[in-house]
């Protein structure tokens, strides 16, 4: 039997890790849920967000939480660029997203991810960098809670809560939801599909890059141009677990992964097997609950 204190400590870390997973997957969730396009280059935009936070720290002394709004603002610009450069010609004038469009965008964003990760490798070089930001640790018995991770967890939950409120309580949010449910009917209600899709993509990118900034807290010496390849699959799994387009689904999926990865080792299972298990959870979920865990 595993030591209870150890399990609780791992659970706390797992919950915080789950929150950061949730926030990096959240942007993908929004874009996938609204436009039905899966951005394979998602991980590379997380990576760009992380580098954004790193350079803000180097030149302006920002800490990762402070650089979130700046990264998000950049993300909005990048999102519009992405939408009008790539998605618009695939989505324009379509009432339903066919399998063909799905495959074309999948392959196109796959090409984009190769470009971005390798161009980043040429520009940033392969050396791992990191932000030195280490607030103190709260100690409660055997459980040590790093405050940095706690701030990130709080910001993540806040971001997800705000996005949920935005989608359910504002006019623009309702328009986005209408678009995601039925493009044709939304048009009949006077909603401009291009505008909505572009805005949703921009919001998704803002969230993605903000997530990249928050992720840097967990990578004190680990920001490299290749982190996208690690965090993109994690994001895909999280979004599928929660169900694309469900805001709290990101949090649920993220916590599932975070807890599995951090708590299983406390029971004597090796860390990489825990990662494998966390990934493979996707398959039974897809088999038995195609729309994700959240109904």
């Amino acid at each position: 039997m595993a030591d209870l204190g150890l399990v609780v400590a791992d659970l706390v870390v797992g919950l915080m890790l789950g929150c950061v997973f949730a926030v990096i997957a959240h942007g993908l969730n929004v874009i996938w849920g609204v436009t039905k396009v899966v951005n394979v280059a998602h991980g590379e935009f997380i990576m760009l967000g992380a580098y954004g936070a790193y350079y803000l720290n180097v030149y302006l002394g920002f800490n990762p939480v402070l650089s979130v709004p700046v990264d998000a603002a950049i993300g909005i610009g990048v999102g519009f660029l992405f939408y009008f450069g790539l998605l618009h010609r695939e989505l324009r004038g379509k009432d339903t997203i066919t399998r063909e469009t799905e495959m074309v965008t999948l392959v196109a964003t796959f090409g984009l991810s190769l470009i971005l990760s390798n161009a980043a490798l040429a520009i940033f070089k392969g050396d791992a960098v990191g932000i030195r930001w280490a607030p103190e640790t709260l100690a409660a018995g055997p459980v040590h809670v790093p405050l940095g991770g706690l701030y990130v967890a709080i910001s993540s939950v806040a971001i997800i809560a705000i996005s949920d409120l935005f989608l359910s309580r504002t006019y623009l949010g309702n328009a986005i939801r209408a678009y995601s449910q039925d493009i044709g009917a939304a048009q009949l209600m006077g909603i401009n599909p291009t505008r909505i899709a572009a805005i949703a993509t921009a919001i998704g990118f803002a969230l993605t890059m903000a997530g990249g900034a928050l992720l840097t807290v967990w990578l004190p010496v680990g920001i490299t141009p290749l982190i996208g390849a690690t965090y993109a699959p994690i994001s895909f799994v999280i979004v599928v677990l929660g169900g694309p387009g469900k805001m709290w689904g990101s949090l649920l999926g993220g916590l599932t992964l975070g807890i599995l990865i951090d708590v299983l080792p406390a029971f004597g299972i090796s860390a990489s097997i825990a990662v494998a298990v966390a990934f493979l959870v996707l398959i039974p979920v897809l088999l038995f609950a195609r729309e994700g865990i959240l109904r």
Binding site: V107, A122, A229, V240, S272, V275, L282
Partner: protein, 318 residues
């Protein structure tokens, strides 16, 4: 007395052309300098991988991001066969092919239930799980892998991969021109409609996934043979998944010539860039740019586009 004219079965110019290229390579290679031999082995490894993925992604339209998992299985089959069972390398490659097919059928039984993006993500997940699990198995050398000490056997390696590629080209032709081909084209355009008219879609997909896994396993085994070692990082290398996909998208998914063409286009810059200091490391970025442009503007790849817009060449390119 009239002598009946001898008739050859007609296979079409593309197959004859590919056969000619392969025969020339097969005959000429023993006389070429060693450096060219090594280059040709590496090139044929790319061709072998491209055709392997073409069976699945090209012919059924199911995009797989995790095909390198079968390379890894093949590589470990070769390593385990040589190191633990004392196999000769060729038997190891055959074992790799068998295990590749077996795992593909096993994995396919579950993952082929998902379509489109969900299938692509599931394959990626299976790949990552395997990559994390295999280094934990101490019988397979754990994290440090298996060193085989095979020495340098360029001709044996060359003819093994050459045979694999010839089999792949032949089988691709047979599949696309036979009864299977009708069913596959139906699945690729509309799976539900195909089922309605009596195509056994799940069985066809499983067969193709098995063939695909078999050849990816065999090619992975030959790749490990050229390295004379199996390491978790070289066995399960995601960049090979990505390269496979890039090759068939550029060349033309589901065609007979496409994977070969794609392999040339991906391999030549890949090799050239490694010799030029300023371009070092940009290979995949350039390949990515090509994939992006082709996906957006000519989604059927080079072969598909030529067939569509140049009717006079349609007879020669398929």
């Amino acid at each position: 007395m009239r002598i009946p004219r001898m008739r050859f079965p007609t296979f079409g110019p593309t197959l004859y052309g590919l056969a000619l290229v392969m025969v020339v390579l097969g005959v000429a290679t023993p006389f070429l300098p060693i450096i060219v031999k090594v280059q040709l082995i590496n090139f044929l490894l790319f061709v072998g991988l491209a055709y392997a993925l073409n069976f699945m992604t090209g012919l059924t339209g199911y995009v797989s991001f995790g095909h390198a998992v079968f390379m890894g299985i093949g590589a470990y089959a070769l390593g385990g066969g040589i190191d633990r069972l004392g196999f000769p390398p060729l038997l190891g490659v055959i074992l790799g092919a068998g295990l590749g097919a077996a795992f593909a059928v096993g994995i396919g039984l579950v993952t082929l239930r998902f379509r489109g993006v969900y299938f692509a993500i599931t394959t990626l997940v299976v790949f990552l799980a395997a990559k994390n699990i295999v280094p934990e198995i101490s019988e397979l050398g754990g994290g440090s892998g298996i060193f085989m000490n095979l020495g340098f056997q360029p001709l044996a390696e060359f003819y093994t991969i050459w045979t694999i590629v010839v089999l792949e080209i032949g089988l691709t032709y047979w599949v696309t021109h036979g009864r299977l081909g009708y069913g596959l084209r139906a699945i690729k355009s509309d799976e539900d409609a195909a089922k309605t008219v009596g195509v056994n879609a799940s069985r066809l997909k499983l067969i193709l996934f098995g063939i695909s896994g078999m050849f990816a396993g065999a090619t992975g085994a030959v790749y490990a043979w050229t390295l004379s070692a199996v390491l978790p990082d070289t066995g399960f290398d995601i960049t090979y998944s990505l390269r496979m996909l890039a090759m068939i998208i550029i060349g033309g998914a589901g065609t007979l010539l496409g994977p070969f063409l794609g392999a040339v286009i991906v391999y030549v810059p890949y090799n050239y860039f490694q010799t030029v200091q300023s371009l070092l490391g940009l290979q995949l970025a350039v390949i990515g740019a090509l994939v992006l442009l082709i996906a957006l503007f000519i989604p059927t790849g080079i072969v598909g586009t030529v067939r569509r817009y140049v009717p006079t060449l349609r007879r020669y390119v398929e």
